[in-house]
Amino acid sequence: MTLCMTMCLGDYVPVGQGLCVSVHVRLCVPINLEREDATCMGVWNCIYLTLYLSVAEGAWYCGKGPELGIRRPEFKFWLCHLIVVWSLVNPFTSLSLSFLMCKMRRMDLSYFQLWHLLCSLHPLAMGLLLDSHRRRALARLLLRLNTPLCVVSYLAGVFWFLGLAFSPLTQNTYISENAMGSTMVEEQFEGGEHALNFARDFTAQRRKTGSLPVAWLERTMRSVGLEVYSQSFSRTLPFPDETHERYMVSGTNVYGILRAPRAASTESLVLVVPSSPETLNAQAVGLLLSLAAYFRSQIYWAKDIIFLVTEHDLLGTEAWLEAYHDVNITGMQSSALQGRAGAIQAAVALELNSDVVTSLDVAVEGLNGQLPNLDLLNLFHAFCQKEALLCTLQGKLQHSDWASLGGSLHGLQTLMLMVLRQASGRPHGPHGLFLRYHVEAITLRGINSFRQYKYDMTAVGKTLEGMFRKLNNLLERLHQSYFFYLLPSLSRFVSIGLYMPAIGFLLFIPGLKALELWVKLNKADFGPEEQLGPNHSLVQPFGQDARGVALTPLVAPVLISQATGLALYLLPVMGQHVAAQHFPVAEAEAVVLTLLAIYVAGLALPHSTHRVVSSTPRGPDSGWMALKLVALLYLAIQLGCISLFNFSLGFLLAVTMVPAAALTQPSGPRFLYAVLLVLVSPGATLLGSLFLWRELQEAPLTLAEGWQLFLSALAQGVLDHHLYGALLFPLLSLGLYPCWLLFWNVLFWK
């Protein structure tokens, strides 16, 4: 509130705005005095802000965005969602925060006005609620309509999501960045054969040295006229990585810098080829060298170009990136870089393992579901079309006919694959690590399948030449196009404004359910016979209030659940050696098994929590209701936050957990509820996603394979967290798993 007041006095606040704010403050004051109503308002906030969200998104969708001054929808919606979630926590900060954000980001005031209008509706609604008659009427209406509303909202969310691949919700992609323009380039790269010679030499040298042939690479790079440097790094993994068979890793990255002949070295582009013992990428290295030789002979470069060959694929890339930006976030030991080339504007990672390719697959999903700017993908797509290359997304070709049902279903399949990959939060290629440093990057993979028509290195090289020519023209970082999108195909996309309602509908349900619980907990207040004023609760001490929510009994289950989550997060890696000593398993297995053990052990928690929880003096149901109320709000906040930075993960979790969470109660068919809850627990969702993923890739898993894949995915998830800072593991173990345990507690409440 003080913030609101300062906003009023702020010099840049127009008078009208200031008045609005002060009105808001005035209306807030009486509400703030009441503890109960403040809590009530928190619940109402869920509903109101979900509504705001839908309205704001609707406004953009109806094409009113430009009129309202919304220029870059995704960023603003990002912000909008942030504010929404924040206001779940504290409604009073929401206004100030939104205003601050508008000012900080120099957003248009008109957008703020829209938001402000919605915000100022909010205290009016609160004022409405203060009137006990109206409140009672509303409460009755809400109780009656609650279940149908929840069902409708859930179905709307799911169908909205499924509808994303269909034509009204998808748009054609287009290049927004003026500086790149079209594909107006005369590709003159003819070094395909040259590249293959380099590749053969590289393979031979690699066989000779047994690791990355650093000396040969340095010599070759120097011979084509680059400034060559190398960087050595070493890293001991938290536990042995069985998939890649590595534990103590040390390697060397080699990179050569092509200095722009007529520009200052303030900006650069990166072409990176990861090389590891399993995937040599010899052809990619050859093409990189051949391209370097060709690029060296051109005079039109305005940015330096860094040709980087990393060892141990992502580990090397991470080491190089950390050293380039002079940070150390993952405990990597590496030597400092001797040569730099300014801020990296964009990067392309290349993976080629055959002399000819039938198609190029592009990977966009990066660490924690980050995506590169859509323009980079558009650029690649444009050159694919220009060079008549076959380009695939998620390994799927584009359907020829978009309008048809088959085309849309195909798009849905591709989109689901993207959602699953994005939800995993893993970097799907070296580009994924660049995204953390706000370097737009994609990975191109050469696929050599059984198709008849093959493309040689020259065709791939020409595509890369074209892309680099265009990236060279950039004047700023890529920022014009979308950062948040889903792709049903290479040529079509769904913007954030269109996919967010899906999760909005789903998050509406916990809010509604919480409200219902709140009303039920305060049943007496809404009874026709009692006429207690709103100030009544203020006078009474909270603990003795029969109608209020007793928070003390909830402390124990919440704390115990959180402690279990913490154990799940810490123990597997910390206790791996102990486990390996006492059980006949290797360290990697020990980690996974400990993980599973703790996870399953959590299921037994209700029995232990009940010992701690003392019996409550209130009605029989108030205990679990209060717990469920807290759990629902907790779930809504978490899912809201997750969906902000990784929509796919948020949606997958919401679509599974929300209905089960809404249904859970300690009465009725408890066994059914229990099965349902177990099925939607984060671990089970992961298992299910793996099956779905392989199903969509048309390579279905058997149960045994699925289980093996699940175990390795668990290990990889933990490893990704420690090696690259992936957030999925901590999110699940510290956030969603405890939340899920709360529902489990509700189910077995006595």
């Binding site: 500086a179 790149m180 323009g181 079209s182 007529r262 051109q298 039109y300 020519r469 023209n473 004047l475």
Partner: protein, 568 residues
């Protein structure tokens, strides 16, 4: 220094006083007193100039007006050089103006002594209208004449050496014999001649006929407002117009070229030090003689408006000033990214159509142009001229409101579009223009039809006084002097009897000059490999219409109306 030792006042054609080494304030004085000049009080003018210190001593003023306007009395008193080696033009009167005592009314004031040595070396360059036959000598010193034929008007550049000192030169100078003596009687007679001139409007009308376009000098302000490599085409647009106006004769000193970015030296340019306007590197508009006056970050709205309105800081060099006057035809060409009612400058600011219109009005009020041609090649360009309200402005735009202006000439090697469509066709049109071309503005209006431009070019002529059909392209794009060297001898028959100067004889120049013709200055067609397009023959529209009608009739006759659905 900084004074005028000869004032030449052209009645009826241009009301300026020219002089050597004219200080700004003296020119201003002449401007201020223009009405007085028109009001025929030459004495007042002279006094005014004198008071401002524009003249050295003594006052010499050459008054001249067209033939018919002179009263007989003056014509009869025509003044002739003493040595009579040549004749002054018949309709002239060269007078000596009154002494400062008479002007100022301070009897005792003496002429200030001037630096004789410097004054002697001064050379006056007089540019003005002069009848066909000119003196080869003026007050005993040679007159150098140069010129070229055009339009049947007489236009000569006279180079007059400085006058001799008062004590030595002018007393013997025969030119002013009629009023030479300082006696009050002769002075009053001169003044009597002056005051008996007919009304100035008559002269104005006649001057209109004499000078069809009414301008004496040309200026061009060429502005590219866009930065960044992908806006290469805007720089090429501006440079191509620069090339054309320069080729047609506007010197660099009269062109203010503003380029917001340096494409030639951009590191992305695969052909450094060039800016091409045609595909396949056919026409490089960035030659080795391009003088950019305002470059990169100097191109701002403020600087642009300062150039137009003349409010440049005193330190600004001449090349950065638009030193036009009310006899200047000014061409203003702008290109960049625009929208409805604005043109973006430098990606950071914009000029609105209202600001531009107000700037033009200021220019008009400050007599900074005689006529103005405004051309803009930008999206929704027509919105930029719709607010103009100052007279004598003709405006062209590449597109109507709501339309985009489109680019042309995509070049794969350079990797950008080289030009915009509108300017591309304007350039093609201008390449065919030479200084003697009679192409008029109507031709320019039709230069880029919608079929070529995709956008609809617009033009506005309601503020312009003349019919665009009578306005030559070279009135704005060139600096073509209305000069004609006659090949005929004009026989002057002064009425000697009334003047009483028997010794006057005109030596008439009887040499016949060779008729001059212009050589093609640039083999344009060969440079851009474009021959004039042969007109394609099209069958007349009516025939085609008839043919279609026949086809349709046969169709309906054969299949009937019910098969219509198979057609559509």
């Amino acid at each position: 220094m900084g004074r005028v030792d000869l004032a030449v006042i052209f009645y009826g054609t241009s009301t300026y006083a020219w002089g050597t080494r004219v200080q700004d304030r003296c020119v201003k004085a002449a401007e201020v007193t223009q009405d007085i000049v028109l009001g025929l009080s030459a004495r007042t003018l002279a006094c005014h100039l004198l008071r401002l210190g524009c003249f050295t001593t003594p006052l010499h003023a050459l008054f001249w007006c067209s033939q018919d306007c002179l009263p007989d009395e003056v014509a009869s008193q025509r003044l002739q050089p003493k040595d009579a080696s040549c004749s002054l033009p018949p309709p002239g009167c060269l007078l000596e103006l009154p002494s400062p005592m008479e002007c100022i009314g301070h009897g005792g004031e003496q002429w200030p002594e001037s630096d004789g040595a410097e004054e002697e070396e001064k050379e006056a360059e007089l540019i003005g209208v002069w009848p066909a036959s000119v003196c080869s000598e003026f007050k005993g010193r040679p007159l150098m004449a140069a010129g070229s034929p055009d339009q049947g008007h007489h236009r000569t550049i006279l180079k007059v050496p400085p006058f001799p000192r008062p004590d030595s030169g002018y007393a013997q100078g025969g030119l002013t014999t009629g009023c030479a003596s300082k006696s009050p009687g002769s002075l009053s007679r001169c003044l009597a001649y002056l005051t008996s001139f007919p009304s100035p409007s008559v002269w104005q009308d006649q001057a209109e006929q004499l000078f069809k376009s009414g301008h004496t000098n040309n200026w061009a302000v060429l502005v590219c407002t866009s930065r960044f490599w992908f806006n290469y085409r805007h720089v090429a647009n501006t440079l191509s117009v620069y090339r054309s106006v320069k080729r047609l004769g506007i010197p660099d000193s009269h062109i203010v070229l503003m380029l917001a970015d340096d494409m030639a030296c951009n590191p992305r340019n695969p052909k450094p030090a060039t800016v091409f306007s045609h595909k396949n590197m056919e026409l490089n508009v960035y030659g080795d003689d391009v003088e950019v006056d305002y470059r990169s970050y100097e191109v701002t709205v403020e600087n642009f408006l300062r150039v137009l309105t003349g409010r440049v800081p005193p330190s600004a060099p001449r090349s950065k000033r638009l030193l036009s006057d009310d006899r200047s035809n000014v061409l203003i060409y702008m290109t960049g990214h625009g929208g409805n009612g604005f043109l973006k400058f430098q990606d950071s600011e914009e000029i609105t159509n209202v600001e531009l219109a107000d700037a033009f009005e200021q220019m008009w009020q400050k007599r900074r142009y005689h006529e103005m041609l405004f051309i803009i090649d930008t999206c929704q360009g027509a919105s930029m001229y719709e607010r103009f309200y100052s007279p004598n402005v003709m405006a062209l735009a590449s597109s109507q409101v709501g339309e985009d202006s489109l680019s042309h000439q995509p070049d794969l090697a350079i990797g950008v579009h080289l030009m915009d469509r509108y300017t591309f066709y304007v350039l093609e049109f201008l390449e065919e223009i030479h200084p003697a071309s009679q192409a008029n503005m109507n031709d320019l209006f039709q230069v880029c039809p919608k079929s070529l431009c995709v956008s609809t070019p617009g033009h506005r002529t309601d503020l312009f006084q003349r019919n665009p059909q009578n306005v030559l392209i070279t009135d704005f794009f060139g600096s073509v002097r209305k000069v004609e060297l006659t090949t005929e001898t004009v026989s002057l028959k002064p009425d000697l009897s009334s003047m009483g100067y028997s010794h006057l004889k005109c030596h008439e120049d009887e040499e016949l000059a060779e008729p001059l013709s212009y050589a093609a200055q640039l083999p344009v067609a060969q440079i851009i490999h474009q021959k004039p397009k042969p007109k394609e023959w099209h069958p007349p529209g009516g025939f085609i219409l008839g043919l279609w009608a026949l086809i349709l009739m046969v169709f309906f006759k054969t299949y009937g109306i019910k098969h219509m659905k198979y057609v559509f």
